[in-house]
Amino acid sequence: MASVIGDEEPVSLSEAPVRSLNMIEAINDALDIMLERDPDVIVMGEDVGYFGGVFRATAHLQEKHGKTRVFDTPISECGIIGVAVGMGAYGLRPVPEIQFADYIYPGLDQLISEAARLRYRSAGEFIAPMTVRSPFGGGIFGGQTHSQSPEAIFTHVSGLKTVVPSTPHDAKGLLIAAIEDNDPVIFFEPKRIYNGPFDGYYDKPTKPWKDHPDAKVPEGYYSIPLGKARVVREGQALTVLAYGTMVHVAEAVCREKGVDAEILDLRTLVPLDIEAVEKSVEKTGRCLVIHEATRTSGFGAELAALVQERCFYHLEAPVERVTGFDTPYPHSLEWAYFPGPIRTGEAIDKLLGA
C-alpha cells in the first residue's frame, strides 16, 4: 500500500515539507499531482478548463497539463457523467466536476444505473473508475439550487462510494485515494469551508484556514484510505458522528459548552468505518448524529439505526439527530435552516440530561 497519512499511521511523510493551504488549494494540489502521476487521469466539467472552475479548484491545470487532459464541457450533467463512463470503459480515469451538487440530478441515471452497476453487470469486464467532484452544502447564500447536501441519494445506491472531507489535509489525501480507487466515488466538497473552518456563527468574522492545524498539507503525493474515520477529539461524555462542515460546528459547540465529547469525522460515508463508530459509542454510551442535509431518510437515519442495532446495550440515552429541516434551502432564511450552535447545543443537553 502506498504511504498513508492517517491518524492511525503518522508515517514517514510527517517529514515531508508542509504548506498551509485552504481546501481549494489542497484539492487543486491533489488534481495536479494525479494528472502528473497518471496519464489516464482526465479532469473535465463546466468552466474547469481555461477559467479554472467557478471555485478555482482547477486553476492553472489546463495550462500545465494541456487541453486534452483538462477541459470544459457542455452544460449537460447527463453528458458529463455518461462520457466519463465511456472514458472509464476505454481505460481512462476521469475526474468530472459537477459545478454544484444541486446540478447533479440530470446525471443520476448515468451514475446510479450505469457507473455504479458496470462492474456488477459485466462481472468485472467493465468498471467506472471515476471520481465525481462536486461542491455541496449551504452557508454561502446560494439559495435552494446552490446549497443542497444530497449525499443520502448516493449512499443509498449500491456500487457508489461517498466521501466528504472536512479539512484541507484530508481533502487532498482523500481525493487522491478516490481517484486511485477502481470504483466510482462521489466526492462532495463542503463549499462553506473551502476558505476557512466554519463554526456555525455566521454573524462572526470567518477565520481563514491559515492557522488551523489541519490546513498544514504535506507537499507531494499521499493518500488517506477510504472507509477510515478520523477522531477529531477524544472524549468520554458522548460521541458525535459528523462529516464535512458539521465537524467544525460540533467541535465549536462542544468546546464552548465544555462538553467532553468524542467527535468522529466519518470522512467516508460508504464504506463506513463501523468499527470506529462502535468503539466510540461503546465507550461513551451516548451518540449525536449531525448533518446539514434534510432530516427524513438522511444519512443520519442510517447512522442512528446502525448505532442502535450494534450498540444498544451500551446506550444510556436515545440517539439524537441534528439536521437541516425538511424544506428546500431557503435563501433569506438560510441561517434559520442551518443546523447551527443552538440546535446542536440543545441536542447535546438532551443527550447528557437523559
Binding site: C78, G82, G86, A89, P106, S113, E114, R121, E125, S158
Partner: protein, 426 residues
C-alpha cells in the same frame, strides 16, 4: 364566474392538442404507399470528409443499393467480394435461426425473457461488417447480430440467456444483456440511450490517446427522445468525436409508433444536421446500403472528420419482446406489406442474381445453421436453465458491487447463505 383574464381571451382561437395516432390498428388493412421508397442507386455519395450540411438531402432521402432487379446500383454500392456477401448472409441467417430457437426456449420455460430482431438483422450484421473488429460497439438490446458477426460463441450467449452456472455474467443480467470486452462489445443496459454518451466518451478517450479505433452505438428511434441521446450528440459535435450513431428506426417502441418520437415532423436522420453532425438515412433492410453507410461513417470518423448519425429505416417484424403481443396494438398485415422487404431474402436474391448462390445452397445453409444452434443449445443446457438451481454460488450475488467486499456486504452475504441453509438443509 368568468375571471378577468378569461374575458380578455374569449375572442382568440381555441387551441387543440395533437396526440399522434399510427396509420393502422389491429384488423386494419394496410397500405404503405405513403412511405416514399427511393430508387436504388439514385442517391449521391458525398466525400467522407464533407461538411455535415452537405448530407442534408441524404437525411430526407433513403440510401438504397439493391434494386427490384436484385442488382447493386449507384455510387453507394460497396462492391463487396462474393465471399464477404455470403458471410454476411450466413451471419444474418444464423441470427434468425438463433432467435427462433431462443424464442421457443422462452416459451418452453427455459428462461424468463427473449427479444428477437427479425427483419432488422442487417442493421447490426451488415453494420458491424463495415467496422474493424476492434472498434468498440455500444449496443442497445436488439443487436445480437453484432456478437454473432464477431464470432462470439453461441453457447456463451445461451448460457447468459439461461442465467445458468456457465453464464459469464453470473446470472446477474436479464437475458440478452450480453457483455464481451474481448469482442469490443460494451455491457448492455436495460435503461435506454444511456450507451449514447458512453460511446462518445469512449471515442473521445480514443482521440485523446491518438488511438485509431472508433466507437459505434445503436439505439431505437423511440429512445432518441431520451436526454442521453441529445447529450451524446452535443458532446460528439463539440469534440468532433470519432463515433457513429446508429438509430434503428423499426417503427415501433413496444406499442408506441415512431410518431411518439417525432417521426410525423421530420426524419430521425435530420436530427443530425441541427447538431452539425453528418446524417444519412438508409434502407435498413438493404444489407449493402447499411454496409455502405456505416463504412462511409467509419472512414469519416477514422480520418478525424467527425461523427455521423445513420437512421436505419426498417421494420420490427415481431413483438418488442416475449412480454408483449403485437396483435394487441398494430395490424398483423404491416409485416407483409412492409415495402422494403426482408434483408435476408434480398441479399440471397442478390447473390443468386450475380450467380454466386442458389436456392439449394440456401436451404442447406439454413439446415446447417439450425443444427448448429440446436447443438449449442443442448450443450448450454448441460449448465442448466433458469430457475433450476444450477446458478452461480450465492456469494457471487455480493461480489463486484465494489472491487472489494465492504463489511456491510459481508454481513449481508452471511445472512443470504444462512437463509439458504434454512431453506435447503443438507
Amino acid at each position: 364566474m368568468a375571471r378577468e383574464g378569461e374575458r380578455g381571451r374569449y375572442n382568440r382561437p381555441r387551441l387543440s392538442l395533437h396526440v399522434p395516432e399510427p396509420q393502422f390498428r389491429p384488423g386494419d388493412t394496410v397500405d404503405f404507399s405513403n412511405i416514399p421508397v427511393s430508387e436504388a442507386g439514385a442517391q449521391a455519395r458525398p466525400d467522407e470528409a464533407c461538411q455535415p450540411i452537405e448530407t442534408t438531402a441524404l437525411c430526407y432521402d433513403l440510401v438504397r443499393v439493391l434494386g427490384d432487379d436484385h442488382r447493386a446500383h449507384g455510387p453507394w454500392d460497396p462492391r463487396l467480394a462474393p465471399d464477404e456477401l455470403r458471410q454476411m448472409l450466413r451471419d444474418m441467417a444464423l441470427v434468425r435461426a438463433f432467435d427462433e430457437r431462443m424464442y421457443r426456449g422462452q416459451r418452453q420455460g427455459k428462461t424468463s425473457f427473449y427479444m428477437k430482431c427479425t427483419g432488422e438483422e442487417a442493421t447490426s450484421v451488415a453494420a458491424v461488417h463495415a467496422l474493424a473488429s476492434d472498434d468498440m460497439v455500444f449496443p442497445s438490446y436488439r443487436q445480437q447480430g453484432i456478437l454473432i458477426a464477431r464470432g462470439y460463441p453461441l453457447i456463451e450467449m445461451i448460457n447468459q440467456i439461461y442465467s445458468n452456472r456457465g453464464d459469464k455474467l453470473k446470472g446477474r443480467q436479464l437475458p440478452i444483456m450480453y457483455s464481451s470486452r474481448a469482442h469490443s462489445f460494451f455491457t448492455i443496459s436495460g435503461n435506454l440511450a444511456t450507451q449514447v454518451p458512453q460511446a462518445v466518451g469512449w471515442a473521445m478517450a480514443s482521440a485523446i490517446r491518438h488511438d485509431s479505433r472508433i466507437a459505434a452505438t445503436w439505439l431505437g428511434e423511440g429512445s432518441t427522445a431520451e436526454g442521453d441521446f441529445h447529450s451524446g450528440m452535443t458532446f460528439a459535435a463539440v469534440y468532433n468525436a470519432p463515433v457513429i450513431f446508429n438509430v434503428v428506426n423499426n417503427q415501433w417502441a413496444i406499442s408506441s409508433f415512431s410518431g411518439f418520437a417525432g417521426s410525423e415532423r421530420t426524419t430521425f436522420a435530420a436530427r443530425a444536421i441541427g447538431y452539425g453532425i453528418a446524417g444519412l438515412r438508409v434502407d435498413g433492410n438493404d444489407p449493402l446500403a447499411v454496409y455502405a453507410a456505416v463504412r462511409w461513417a467509419a472512414d469519416r470518423a477514422r480520418s478525424n472528420n467527425g461523427p455521423t448519425l445513420i437512421e436505419h429505416f426498417t421494420y420490427r417484424a415481431e413483438g418488442h419482446s416475449t412480454s408483449d403481443d403485437p396483435s394487441a396494438y398494430r395490424s398483423a398485415r404491416e409485416r407483409e406489406e412492409w415495402p422494403l422487404g426482408d434483408p435476408i431474402m434480398r441479399l440471397k436474391q442478390h447473390l443468386i442474381a450475380i450467380g454466386e448462390w442458389s436456392d439449394e445452397q440456401h436451404r442447406e445453409m439454413d439446415l446447417a445453421l439450425a443444427e448448429e444452434v440446436k447443438a449449442a443449445t443442448k450443450e448450454a443446457e448441460k449448465n442448466g436453465i433458469l430457475g433450476h438451481g444450477m446458478h452461480h454460488p450465492f456469494h457471487t450475488m455480493f461480489e463486484d458491487v465494489f472491487e472489494e467486499l465492504p463489511w456491510h456486504l459481508e454481513e449481508q452475504a452471511d445472512q443470504a447463505i444462512r437463509e439458504r441453509q434454512i431453506k435447503w438443509p443438507q
